[in-house]
């Protein structure tokens, strides 16, 4: 595994911060924006130039999104102890996600789009696939490389696609995950929908005002069980599902039809009963709409909702990276048999009475569910189980 977010540059740093209940939100500093002082964001405090230095990545056209992905994937591959041959092998896939892609270069993108401006070095970098094409080249990958974009559930779907490729026998292993960097484009976009909170976000709280955007990247390496003997196995993916809410392009149905179906189908695929889920890493963006719909769906499916929390209160909403970073956190919980506090929460939504877990706790855990719900009604749910 490997990951980077506003609360840590490595998996270990992330874990330390989660235990402490660190909030990664602060002032936007990496690029100028009217919103720097008005909206908290979970920014990784390493400049794009510093990332290039650290990663020895000076190719023209390289974007912050790609650099963050490279940072995380480096840690992932080192942690996996896979040989270079195995990484480049035709039977190793790389399935990634991004919703921002090269659009983090908002001003350059706008300028290049005009007919009479000369092209910048980023002309081929604006799309979502170029990060993974870069990684393919850098690591000489010969296996399948694909990019998925289903808004906020993108990396959950990337993890699912990688798992299915292995299950179908098409590949033996898959590097799966996602990345997104902060961008003027997304800040303005979410702001125009009035779902950004001017304060620190408070998932599932009755006074919640919206989400805080974040950036980050995380990757996992999935392998077949028979190939993993003798290796350090963190967890297994025991179930997954993808369903569509089909209600509105940018909000969820009140009852949370899509979330309910994704969670329920994930349980079916894992052959588990709701009561067997020990913890839910909720999508929990802190918006009025998501938290209410997700709560209603959880209540309808579980009756007695298991312990849950949203780490978006720590790292913000990392969009295309969220499914992957949050998967990483679920796996950390399983490995360490611990749960991290749901921070910045005061009072439950009156209708539901649901409260995220308040404190750090060491506890027996076998199965954890992780939810990711995005624009376009794209709902995904993954279930991880103790190795």
């Amino acid at each position: 595994m490997g990951g980077i977010s506003a609360i840590g540059n490595t998996v270990a740093e992330n874990r330390t911060s989660l235990i402490k209940g660190t909030c990664g939100m602060g002032r936007l500093e990496m690029f100028p924006s009217k919103f720097s002082d008005r909206l908290p964001v979970a920014e990784i405090k390493i400049s794009t130039e510093a990332l290039k230095e650290k990663l020895n990545a000076f190719e023209p056209g390289i974007t912050r999104t790609t650099l963050l992905a490279l940072h995380a994937i480096k840690e992932t591959i080192a942690d996996s102890r896979l040989t270079n041959e195995q990484v480049s092998s035709f039977d190793t896939a790389l399935i990634g996600a991004s919703t921002v892609g090269g659009m983090c270069l908002t001003d350059e993108m706008q300028r290049d789009a005009q007919k009479d401006t000369p092209g910048s070095e980023y002309l081929a970098s604006y799309d979502y696939g170029s990060t993974y094409m870069y990684l393919q080249k850098r690591y000489s990958l010969n296996g399948p490389v694909n990019t998925i974009n289903t808004a906020c559930s993108s990396s959950a779907n990337a993890i699912m696609f990688g798992a299915r490729l292995i299950r179908s026998g098409k590949v033996r292993r898959a590097i799966v995950g996602g990345v997104d960097s902060l961008a003027k484009f997304t800040i303005n976009g979410f702001n125009s929908l009035h779902i950004l909170s001017p304060d620190l976000c408070t998932p599932f709280d009755e006074e919640r005002k919206g989400l805080n955007l974040g950036e980050g990247a995380a990757f996992l390496i999935l392998e077949r069980e028979e190939d993993a003997t003798g290796k350090k196995i963190y967890a297994s993916i025991s179930g997954y599902a993808n369903a569509n809410d089909a209600y509105h392009t940018s909000s969820l149905s009140d009852e949370g039809i899509g979330p309910y179906k994704a969670m329920r189908d994930a349980l079916v695929s894992a052959k588990l009963d709701p009561a067997q889920i020990d913890f839910i890493n909720a999508h929990g963006t802190g918006t009025e709409n998501n938290d209410k719909s997700e709560s209603r769906a959880m209540l309808r499916l579980f009756g007695k909702v298991p312990a849950f929390a949203s780490t978006k209160a720590n790292i913000g909403h990392t969009l295309g990276a969220s499914g992957a970073i949050e998967a990483l956190y679920c796996i950390l919980s399983l490995v360490q048999q611990e749960l991290y506090p749901g921070i910045n929460f005061k009072n439950p939504i009156p209708e539901t009475g649901l409260e995220p877990i308040p404190t750090y706790q060491k506890t027996a855990l076998t199965h954890i569910m992780s939810n990711s719900f995005g624009f376009g009604g794209n709902c995904s749910s993954l279930i991880f189980s103790k190795a």
Binding site: K34, Y126, Y128, S168, N191, N244, G376
Partner: protein, 315 residues
Amino acid sequence: MLAIEPSYDDIPPGVLRRMGKSVRMGTGAAMPIVKNNPKPDGIIIGTANSGKEDCVKFLNQIIEYDEGLLTPINFVQSTPNAIAAQIGLLTNNHGYNITHVHLGLAFEFAIIDADMMLNENPLNSYLLGAVDDISNYNYNYEDKNGWYKKEAFTNKPFYETNSPGSIAGEAAAMFLVNGNRSGSIAKLLAVDALHDEDESVMKEKLQDFIRKYLPAGERIDLLLTGENGDSRLLKYYSICESVVENNVSVARFKHMSGEYPTATAMGLWLCCNILQNQSIPGHMMKYAAATTRYKNILIYNNYKGIQHSFILVSE
């Protein structure tokens, strides 16, 4: 090459007027299929540049209004999953819904996804398709990067222009796929992809593909290629033609569709037509061999010299 759009009677006008071009074309192509068949169990779409037009419209707003209060419609329409989402929304489809965006292989991965879904759920059916559109904006990126012809020309000598670049195209192609032989128009036998600029690697991959997937004792009756008038890419198409036997007909389609990342979806649509009608329009033929019947068709496409796709289709 702009698409000739129909009147989209299946899309409610209030919804239609807010749609970006990709969403409109994709939904418009999908609706007749969804209306006339049992509800598919999922929607699997490939697209590379869908939403770019709305994206840059939103960016222009950001600049013009200096990050003031902006209207969200362009932002919401700028996400590539808007096509699959909109189709799901209009047809109340709660099933599997996904969008693959890996540029010139976006449609190929959509096919692989659909194939895996059908293996996992043999009784299901899925809406599978791809869309890409030309907008002023993404045209400018590609043009500045040298992917379009600089000189003026007409369609007829398109393939003989002997200069770099192609022409921009756009289209939506949608299919209903299931594991059922009966009632089907075509059978997708195999799909594979390669990311490499080296011609010899491409040649080996193509040879392996044919060896592995062409049923024993059968032959390829037609090679349909994505040759696009870009002189820099001719070497790949020459290799492809040399690998396939001498007496195989070769046809091309990008003089009709133009060049765009998910053009192979159009190629697949044409294959279905050819298999159904057992004929190919003269203007598509590069070499017409003496073929009595079209049974197995190999589609080869190359996107920007680096992403290669191989698709084998049969009756």
